[in-house]
């Protein structure tokens, strides 16, 4: 039992002490690998809802006083866990963020509470640094022969942009979510300013129907190669070589990146793939539902004949995600092709802050900056 829990139990008959314990500290209470969650309020049952693959999904709290609930879990060092509390009252259930925990992680669906395990540190390069020069965003409408109509793209242009310089290009799938929830623009500003990556042009793209278009849809590959790239090359001085072009994405965005590079090889030479939804099955049906059918079919074909979709690949996945086994298999497969690969596992789940925390490693692996040579 954690020391915190012992203290709470010991103070049950001393309301003043209990009040003091509740007022004194940050929640949940992290003591080494032990994390103690506390909920105060009326309920019939309180459950910890999280998305850690391999742990019981809904973990029940113990009521230690009429309106005081506790739960202790084991969380390995360096972990980061997003969660909600499920409060059951009179047959109704509510999912809420932890009222005692101010730390929140935002995502396209709202927010989750966050517990940072012992040893986890939020990276300083993901926070706004007033000393870093800021890039800017330009809004473009790209006519698309692949999809018909136009696609809106925001383009990150680095600080001190200069027409005489040639810039690498990175296309970010779900680019606006990367910007909002993974601080992509801030990360780019900081890493460029710290010379860890070169100044680069980053196209933030989105899809109105990502579950379809990102699922290895050949029209998407055509959009990236035949529509987007020429439009950007017209407008910006870009490196005219696959080694200067990259695709990035998380989840289905990683599928979109890998499948496009595989369908149209030799154009985008670098891939940054995070928590790719690379579901496959060796025998029998998959469990992803109909939306995964084209993905599973793509991964099957890719595994049969991977070729060399890129010159260099960065792959990351949360060790607490259901996709971890598929990503480990993908890493082995890419490595077997002789593709320089950096594969990183994080003690985290399928979420935007996990993807944010890996950006420095991924971007600098694919696009090393002039750090070693430049002393401004």
């Amino acid at each position: 039992m954690s020391r915190a829990l012992q203290e709470f139990r010991g103070a049950l008959r001393d309301p003043q002490r209990l009040q003091q314990l509740l007022g004194d500290r940050e929640f949940p209470i992290v003591e080494g690998r032990s994390v103690t969650f506390v909920y105060r309020g009326p309920a019939d049952q309180v459950l910890l809802q999280h998305w850690i693959h391999g742990l019981q999904a809904a973990q029940p709290f113990e009521r230690i006083a009429p309106e005081l609930w506790v739960l202790e879990i084991d969380l390995p060092e360096g972990s980061r866990l997003e969660y909600k509390l499920e409060i059951r009252t009179h047959g109704r259930r509510r999912l809420v963020n932890d009222p005692l925990n101010p730390k929140l992680a935002h995502n396209p669906f709202g927010s989750n509470s966050v517990v940072q395990g012992a040893g986890y540190e939020e990276p300083d390069w993901a926070r706004r640094d007033p000393e870093s020069r800021s890039g800017s965003l330009e809004e473009l409408a790209i006519p698309s022969s692949a999809f018909g109509g136009e696609r809106r793209v925001s383009v990150y242009v680095p600080a001190r942009f200069h027409r005489r310089r040639r810039y690498p290009l990175l296309v970010a799938h779900d680019g606006h979510d990367y910007r909002r929830y993974s601080a992509l623009q801030t990360v780019l500003d900081n890493l460029i300013d710290r010379l860890e990556i070169p100044p680069m042009i980053v196209a933030l793209t989105d899809s109105p129907d990502r579950m379809r278009e990102y699922a290895a849809d050949p029209r998407h590959a055509s959009f990236l190669v035949d529509d987007l790239l020429p439009a950007l090359e017209d407008r910006y001085p870009l490196v005219e070589h696959p080694s200067g072009r990259g695709l990035m994405g998380a989840s289905f965005g990683a599928v979109a990146s890998l499948s496009a590079a595989w369908q149209r090889p030799g154009i985008y030479g670098k891939l940054l793939l995070q928590s790719g939804s690379f579901l496959f099955t060796d025998i029998g049906d998959h469990e992803g539902g109909p939306v995964f059918d084209p993905v599973v079919e793509f991964v099957r074909r890719f595994r049969e004949s991977p070729g060399r979709p890129a010159e260099r690949v960065y792959l990351s996945c949360g060790a607490y995600e259901g996709m971890i086994h598929y990503n480990r298999a993908m890493a082995a497969l890419l490595q077997a092709q002789g593709i320089p690969l950096l594969f990183e596992e994080a003690r985290d789940g399928h979420n935007w802050e996990n993807w944010r925390d890996r950006l420095r490693s991924g971007l600098s692996w694919l696009f090393p900056g002039p750090l070693w040579m430049v002393y401004e």
């Binding site: 600098s364 430049v374 002393y375």
Partner: protein, 321 residues
């Protein structure tokens, strides 16, 4: 470049982007008229000197060495080809040096981490010193090989006679003659050094030099590349090339607080002992090292990396470089 007589005042500064102090240094040097400026380390951004010009608040003869080189390459593809070949040779040399360096430094690291116990302290120290000497020998060898490469290519480059360079060199000499001081900005240290070698045979002896970051590094005897926290790779400091030798006995570390982990004594000792007998100086924001001849006259907000792993503020007393 031939080495000029080092009798002029030279001031080495830390990064100037946030709290520039070049103007006050020039004032103290009594350089009141126009100054020459080299910003070739900024590469394509070389000509964006508005901020620098505003800070200096006096006429600036911008030498435009990066752009002059681009013009020369366009006019003279043979020059470009030779420099490209030399670049490839140096790069290959550097990758081989890195291979050996990794193992030599790993040996130092392992020995530093040994617990000597009471009786083995002398023995361990002797082994450690030998391991350091091995790294020093490797660094010396590398510098010699780099010099050999330059000796091989210089007669092919013929910078003083090559028509594509001669006009620029003449113009640059003229601009320097009209200048009261020369300012050398930081940036890409290898490009800066390369452009200086291409266009200058040295600096006029009377000309005070004010150099910051990479600009200061190129004036030293040995240019050492360093970063303790690179996102990729082992972060082993490495010698790049001999510098112009105007700050003898000093190895300079701009942005040290950001790039070096100064609170790890073993790491600091590894760097300082390896580079002995040179004196390792940090150049951070606000730092200044005032030199005249071979002597350091004054140091402000400068720290010295010591062989025992400590980092001490440099005194204001005169220190023989």
């Amino acid at each position: 470049m031939k080495r000029p007589t080092p009798a002029r005042p030279i001031v080495l500064l830390g990064p100037q982007r946030r709290e520039p102090r070049v103007r006050s240094v020039l004032e103290e040097l009594g350089a009141e008229g126009p100054v020459a400026a080299v910003t070739a380390g900024w590469e394509e951004l070389e000509e964006e000197i508005e901020e620098l010009q505003a800070h200096l608040d006096r006429p600036v003869h911008h030498l435009r060495l990066w752009h002059r080189a681009e013009e020369a390459f366009e006019e003279d593809p043979d020059l470009y080809r030779i420099l490209r070949e030399r670049y490839d040779a140096l790069r290959r040399l550097r990758s081989l040096y890195r291979l050996r360096l990794e193992y030599a430094l790993a040996a130092v690291r392992r020995l530093q981490e040994q617990d000597p116990g009471d009786r083995l302290e002398d023995l361990l120290e002797a082994e450690l010193e030998s391991a350091f000497e091995e790294v020093r020998r490797l660094d010396r060898e590398h510098l010699q090989r780099v010099e050999e490469v330059h000796r091989e290519y210089d007669p092919r480059i013929r910078a003083a006679e090559r028509p594509s360079l001669v006009r620029h060199r003449r113009e640059i000499r003229g601009l320097l003659e009209e200048s009261h001081a020369l300012c050398l900005a930081g940036g890409h240290v290898a490009i800066l050094l390369n452009r200086l070698r291409l266009f200058l045979d040295g600096f006029p002896d009377r000309l005070p030099l004010v150099a910051w970051s990479a600009g200061a590094m190129v004036l030293s005897e040995r240019i050492v590349l360093f970063h303790d926290r690179p996102p990729q790779g082992p972060g082993n400091p490495e010698v790049l090339e001999p510098g112009l030798g105007l700050a003898p006995g000093l190895v300079l570390f701009p942005h040290a607080r950001r790039r070096l982990i100064l609170d790890e004594p073993l790491r600091v000792a590894r760097l300082a002992r390896r580079l002995q007998p040179a004196c390792c100086l940090t150049l951070d924001r606000g730092s200044a090292v005032w030199l005249r001849g071979r002597a350091v006259q004054r140091q402000e907000r400068v720290s010295v990396l010591q062989g025992d792993g400590s980092v001490l503020p440099a005194g204001t007393e005169e220190v023989k470089a």
